[in-house]
């Protein structure tokens, strides 16, 4: 209830109903992209270790476990 009473004026679009599916799809695609950068060992990208080696320095400096 308090959320409704405190609803604020905003320029942001209201996301409702079917658009929740779109939003979930967008998040899934973004997480897949982050996965390819940060965690892929070739199993998903089928690139062997090429992507892994190419992004090697980035993974270390973004702070994710690398090897």
């Amino acid at each position: 209830m308090s959320d409704i009473q405190q609803a604020q004026p905003t320029a942001a679009p209201a996301i409702t109903g079917r658009q929740l599916g779109t939003a979930a799809g967008v998040v899934a695609v973004m997480l897949l992209l982050a996965y390819l950068v940060a965690f892929d060992q070739g199993a998903l990208s089928q690139s062997g270790m090429y992507l892994h080696e190419l992004m090697h320095d980035g993974r270390h400096l973004l702070g994710v476990p690398c090897h």
Binding site: T10, P13, I15, E53, H56, H60, G63
Partner: protein, 255 residues
Amino acid sequence: MPLTGTPASRGFAQLLIRGLLAGLIAGLLAGAFAFTFGETHIDAAIAIEQAAAPPAAPGTAEEEPLVSRDGQKAGLVLATTLYGIAMGGILATAYALLRRRLHTRSDPRAVFFLAGSALVGVVLIPFLKYPPNPPAVGDPATIDQRTWSYLAALVLGLVAVWAAVVAARTQQAEWRRAAAGTTASLVVVAVAYLMLPSIDEVPATFPPSLLWDFRVVSLGVQAVLWTALGLTFGAFVTPRGTPASPARAEQTTAA
């Protein structure tokens, strides 16, 4: 069917494009920071790694690396840029879904809150439990366990931020809200740190100052990324033609 759809879906698409663009900018800036301050530490760590590796058997050619060191340095900026774009898309979606639940009248302030939450929950809390390691540190045999532990710390970091918000909203006075939020998140972090497995794989011979410098730069890369992402996307969602702040508006009216 070009650009038809409900106003809300058009609005979400525009918001998403701005988020991806803000992520691109933030990722490039983080890449420039990482390239400038991080590569010397990576090079130094790789030199230690190679000095420790057994020499190639006589008569066999040295193994050709899959990607050259120069390729990896270019790949660094590619990695931070793609990562930035992904985080920009997630930030824009989170903003669209949560904007009306955040108790502030200011759209950019809502963005700053979300980006700040990500910096604490997704970066700082996992960082303090599992600080990142340069090459030559870490046992390849435990990479799966370390990856899952890291992801668990990341999820628990988001839980800590959520707990802070929930606890703060039970209180009225400003100082009680701050105290409740801080206490709730610290309790979640303390329990999470105790439950998550400890990892200590730094070789005794690895230079401590190099390890420290690498970790500081690594934290800096994420700080640059989320700060730039928050500020840029915050600028993108600021409605045009509205006064920057109520105080500014009064000054304008008085003048």
